[in-house]
Symmetry: none
Subunit: 130 residues, 4 copies
Amino acid sequence: MLLIHLNTTDERPIYTQIADQVKFAIASGILTPGVLVPSVRELSKQLVVNPNTVARAYRELQSQRLLEPVRGTGLQISESAPDLCRTDRREYVRRRLRLAIEEARRSELDPQEIEQILREEWSNGNGRAE
Amino acid sequence: MLLIHLNTTDERPIYTQIADQVKFAIASGILTPGVLVPSVRELSKQLVVNPNTVARAYRELQSQRLLEPVRGTGLQISESAPDLCRTDRREYVRRRLRLAIEEARRSELDPQEIEQILREEWSNGNGRAE
Amino acid sequence: MLLIHLNTTDERPIYTQIADQVKFAIASGILTPGVLVPSVRELSKQLVVNPNTVARAYRELQSQRLLEPVRGTGLQISESAPDLCRTDRREYVRRRLRLAIEEARRSELDPQEIEQILREEWSNGNGRAE
Amino acid sequence: MLLIHLNTTDERPIYTQIADQVKFAIASGILTPGVLVPSVRELSKQLVVNPNTVARAYRELQSQRLLEPVRGTGLQISESAPDLCRTDRREYVRRRLRLAIEEARRSELDPQEIEQILREEWSNGNGRAE
DNA sequence: GTGGTCTAGACCACC
DNA sequence: GTGGTCTAGACCACG
């Protein structure tokens, strides 16, 4: 069962949030090759979201060869998806962290203070659920 | 002299880029209370941007009590601006880092790997001139 | 249904009149949390003003956390809006009255005479339908 | 000696503030017919204000027949000024108070609460020197 | 000269 | 359909 959590206050578009979480589910083995993702209508109902939004997320995933259509049945995880997602994921995480760190440096805040913040924020979340 | 650089590839709106750079200039002491910011028309000419866009940036800064109008003369840095900007900046940096870290966690990548990436990215930039 | 009336003789800008009337509507319970305000285009058509003017009014309300965007859908009254508007309204009324009274004092008119005027003007309006 | 206090945070234009205070000074007998008001240059220096601003205030006062030019000498208080100002002043004060009260009513705040605020604000200032 | 308001209209992302 | 961004240009009040 695929669990997706949307954050409407997040500035990122909803379709991106959906696509990213599908990718994470693939990378972590929750979704494996051959498994069908929920139908657009079903997922849109579950997430209380416009069907177009889910369709767009799936479209993105198809264009990245992570989902492939099975005629008359739905969309399934592709054979190559796990590999693609695992490397993607690492690069993605690295890139986001790098951007945040670069911006922190550009703010001309004292580097020691930045390091302090980094330490705090990293340890903050460790050990808690969600 | 206030130097503002617009990044057209940056996804953030122009007025935000302007406002943020004014804030950084205040936080780092380049702009001090009582100093007039460049006039809307002047800055818009310098940045090759519509005057309305600059005006909007300045309006945001006014609503945050960082700029105050001197009638018929222009907009000046408020007395309280430096304090506000310094704490703002810290909060801003912290928030960006926290969001990136939270997303990294959500990716279900191995925490040790995340920490490794964090270390690498942080030390990467240190020691180099930007 | 939200009814907004613009007063062209009022010296206050149109966007302020719009924003204030939305606030009053929230304070008096005509608009409740979760309700969508009329779309920018619709209200601008109804009021025969430029869409940008309505958008600006809504932007002010957003920056005061009274409206929040529902992406692709519109702007809704925030959960905290009623409380904010009710206290705001009281402060607003108080401020206007204080300013008028202060100016009356500064006029060096006999205080007894001012009090007399205050009484008259206050009782004048009571009991009549506006 | 004419004492004028400008409030730069007041939303009213400076030239209006100057003109009004001259009127109050006439109404209260500080300035009497035949007395010369300070020259534009002198008053502008004293108030740290653009000479144009003082000139405009004086222009308004002349157009209301409160000041009259004495060739080669300056502007003097007119014979009829005190009467004009005294009635003006009462009407002015009354009008400002009425407008504030009307707006308070329009806010649909509970009338009892408005009366409460009125009482508080009125008694607040009594007894203190400003 | 300054900022503020408003109009008109284009283009974009999102749902 | 929705709001958001940006441009272009007119007009106003203030100093």
